[in-house]
Subunit: 449 residues, 2 copies
Amino acid sequence: MQSFEINKSDLLKIKNALEANDTELQRVLGEYHASEIAILFERLTPEEREKIINVLPSDIASEVISEMDEENHPEQILFNLHPEKRSEIIEELDYDDATDIISQLEEHEQEQVLEHIDQEDATNIRALLHYDEDTAGGLMNTDVIKLNANLNKKDALEEVIRQSEEKEEFYTIYAVNDRDILQGIVSLKDIIKSKPDVMVHDLLKTDYVYVKAEVDQEEVARLMSQYNLTSIPVVNDHLKLLGRITIDDIIDVMEEENTEDILKISGVSEDEELSGNWKDAVKSRLPWLIINLGTAFLAASVIRHFGNLEAKLPIIAAYMTIIAGMGGNAATQALAVTVRRISLSDLTDAQAYNTVLKEFLVGMINGAVNGIIVLVVALFYDANPMLGLVLFLAMTGNLIVAGLTGASIPLLLKRLGIDPAVASSIIITTFTDCIGFLLPLWLASALLL
Amino acid sequence: MQSFEINKSDLLKIKNALEANDTELQRVLGEYHASEIAILFERLTPEEREKIINVLPSDIASEVISEMDEENHPEQILFNLHPEKRSEIIEELDYDDATDIISQLEEHEQEQVLEHIDQEDATNIRALLHYDEDTAGGLMNTDVIKLNANLNKKDALEEVIRQSEEKEEFYTIYAVNDRDILQGIVSLKDIIKSKPDVMVHDLLKTDYVYVKAEVDQEEVARLMSQYNLTSIPVVNDHLKLLGRITIDDIIDVMEEENTEDILKISGVSEDEELSGNWKDAVKSRLPWLIINLGTAFLAASVIRHFGNLEAKLPIIAAYMTIIAGMGGNAATQALAVTVRRISLSDLTDAQAYNTVLKEFLVGMINGAVNGIIVLVVALFYDANPMLGLVLFLAMTGNLIVAGLTGASIPLLLKRLGIDPAVASSIIITTFTDCIGFLLPLWLASALLL
């Protein structure tokens, strides 16, 4: 199979079916997987989406709604539905997904939705609405399979089958005591394979990993990836079992965090939605550009200082921009490698030292090679060996500075508790610009005038 | 729980235990999870790692080896072990993990390892060694639970229990016909809940997603994320079941791909290992820097062309670097948002058009705001209103170019089948540098001289 991509014929088919009657629309929709319909939704109007959700069976409709991109506002579709259809769809949703969607509504709208659904569902969703959506509590599903550790094999199996009636699939069975305090994890396979007189507590795996509800979602992702978990139980301070987070929810967190990393390193606020409008984009990027402008003035003041030299040697301006620009490029390289390395694992002092040393070496070699090229150009093009020497020294020096700052600034920021992805590139560009202007101008003043 | 971070006391404890006797070492290691030992390995010498693997029970040792960072060469530890211990560890490994590790050895070393292990294991690993490690075949595990679709409930349950004896956990049960052709997916829950006279083929879910063995791992990751799968069956051209890929293997793929994205957008070869040595770093980054140097000469030639102006108005050089630099920053912002958007989903023509239009608007507004700031500075600092006007126009113009190219170049490259993350930033910097130099110089020539 191939991953689904929208093509014109699919879209045309759906659009035509939307014009025809409901039976035809149902027939056409039947050809698509719920995830595919959610993707097709990106190209439809809100009215068309609502019409489709209305004709789909509730189980498929709920899948489509839970797979919809947040930016297409699944909560509005849900809110606009007939209360009966809405209850059916919410009943089919996992509690965590239902909560995510409902949490996007205004408070009075939330109440309106929760009043008309099954009482148990409403209680569960209300409980989940209390957690910040970026924490373990906000990610978890309360709908777990849990067994009292004192059950025997026969009762345990019956209980698992009873509890799993309503669940699509389950990963792990949790064992609790009478007060719902987590005792351990037990696998269905072990229950099935066990002798008839075995109790649940004989089968427990007790060296499991858990999280508290208030833990940040990034930390949950790190834990699950580090310990290779497919699910993780969420508990309160007294180790009472509250729910569990499954790996599919974490994949979305990882995608989100990775988008944020790329944006931050490029000077875009991590909150900017990729498909947001121009107003949000201006709000997210302008502050950063203005800070950059301030540091650019700082670097340019270096040039002002040598105004005298430029009048006598106008050619230096062209070379100076080359050297500053190359410093920026080399620093970006060192920065990307270091930032990514920090975000995947913490570095020890020795590793940090080695990283800076390595980038110093890389900067020196890359600087020397590029310096020789510039020297050769200056020889052939400007027939000025002394200018060539100035440029060679300036290029090598600036690329060493680029390597040193590209590696050490993010390491330093990390130690100061500042997110290295956000602040590093602005500090580093300032360095490579200032040094990139200063070195050729100062060397030229000293050696050429 | 917190994710595990190495601290000095853990490391000291392990180092001391390594000096003491094996019993003490075993006792200390018993306090750690296999994943944690794998993390501690980063700080130990190869000899210390080997000693630890030798005293650990084979099941824990195999977990540690499969969790070790590739850069610490688990294959060498495995190869240096006593053949008997080695066989025990390989027997405990999943076939896909064993294959990944063994594939890193030289061919004659591979043979040496495979000769001394269980025949069935060797056959399975040999089969997996044929697949490219970046494809579905290279990721899959052949050790699946499969049932003949013609089994009845009792035989099916017995068969599941028999096959699962050797497996830590399993996600999905696959139903096949007599020739191992995939017929569908069946859940253990459904088998348990079914009536005694039901056959496996009555319980099949047939609208499942599968991949062929030669499909690229990125495509597998996209499919599993798009359809929210925890596992996916891998088949050959005749739909014969070859194995299955589980979500935990895909998480590693996603981490890898995301690292590559960040590196590529920063001008680092995607193959550079984050903790690689300086030689690899030079090899990975120097070619890119030299290409950049070429384009920098192109941009600098614009400045050469106006050498005349600079001699008369040296101050223009300082402002010109500010305008070119700000163009680079704004273009990087537009580029990061667009590249990330492309990598998460394909854009239609209409979406592409809207993206470019949005970036044009954002560039114009951000350009005008920054242009006003530069204008004010020129008024107060240089008391030159005409210079201020020149700089305002040049800043606005260059940030419009930055937005337009930052959005349209990656979209264009994507349509041409070129990876937008790799080539975009070099093209865009060239544009913003050239225009950033050209606009203020040309406007100043026209309006100020």
